[in-house]
């Protein structure tokens, strides 16, 4: 009972936030809406017993990414932009395309309702908290991707600094 309610509330938060993100005029408002959407997602993570990811979502996404977005918005001085129309001139076509895709999604779901073959639920793992088990996996089997990811982050740091700095004349 509780998780159903929680699920629906978090889902609503997420979707509402998303819709607001794509429709508000002022970019700062969009950023705020994004925050709420991300918070909803964090909640959904928690519901799925992914505690570590819940924490990471809040700290990284909300605390990092959206702050970054806000900085950039400030940097690019959007007074004039706010007066411009939000959507592109030919907005019909993407709407139609997305609508079509969405319809097809629904159609697939209803059509295959009976034959939807989800994989069988797995067995619960041994004892140990989410973080311990996650770290165990991360640093044993997935060590190489981990190292590669750190390399990627290094490249991203250097890249973004290079991209954004003023050219020294």
């Amino acid at each position: 009972m509780l998780d159903t309610a929680l699920f629906y509330s978090f889902a609503l938060l997420t979707l509402l936030g998303a819709i607001l993100t794509v429709s508000l005029r002022n970019a700062v408002n969009c950023a705020i809406a994004l925050i709420t959407s991300l918070a909803g997602v964090a909640g959904l993570f928690l519901l799925q017993k992914a505690e570590f990811l819940f924490a990471v979502q809040i700290v990284l996404y909300i605390g990092g990414i959206t702050v970054l977005f806000l900085f950039v918005i400030m940097l690019v001085n959007l007074d004039q932009t706010a007066k411009q129309p939000r959507f592109g001139r030919h907005w019909m076509i993407p709407v139609l395309a997305i609508a079509g895709t969405g319809t097809l999604f629904v159609g697939f779901l209803t059509r295959g309702r009976g034959t939807l073959a989800l994989p069988a639920p797995g067995v619960a793992a041994d004892a140990g908290g989410n973080v311990e088990r996650l770290s165990d996996l991360l640093f044993r089997e997935y060590l190489v991707p981990f190292e590669v990811a750190s390399l990627l982050l290094l490249v991203a740091i250097v890249g973004s600094v290079v991209m954004a700095r003023k050219k020294a004349d």
Binding site: I19, T21, L44, L68, L109
Partner: protein
Amino acid sequence: MLHPITVTHYLVLSAALLLIGTLGVLLRRNAVVIMMSIELILNAVNINLIAFSEHLKTLNGQIFAIFVITVAVAEAAVGLGILIALFRNKETVLIDEIDILKW
């Protein structure tokens, strides 16, 4: 409405979020908002991964999600850097004003 919450619910939610995000990418003119919509798409993917991770009682999905977040962070940083550089050159963040590479 009062069915127990299964994986399917999460899949539908993820799909919806994806479509909203795509709408944002395709419709908005402001480049920063487009970047935000991309974040929405990535989150939709994460929801999907976590849902299955729980359903299959394995942690692989969560590991994958960690990496998705890592990549999303890197991409956001670099993308915003590019955006700033673009703004410096073109004085605008409206991307339909940036169409030099055309026929």
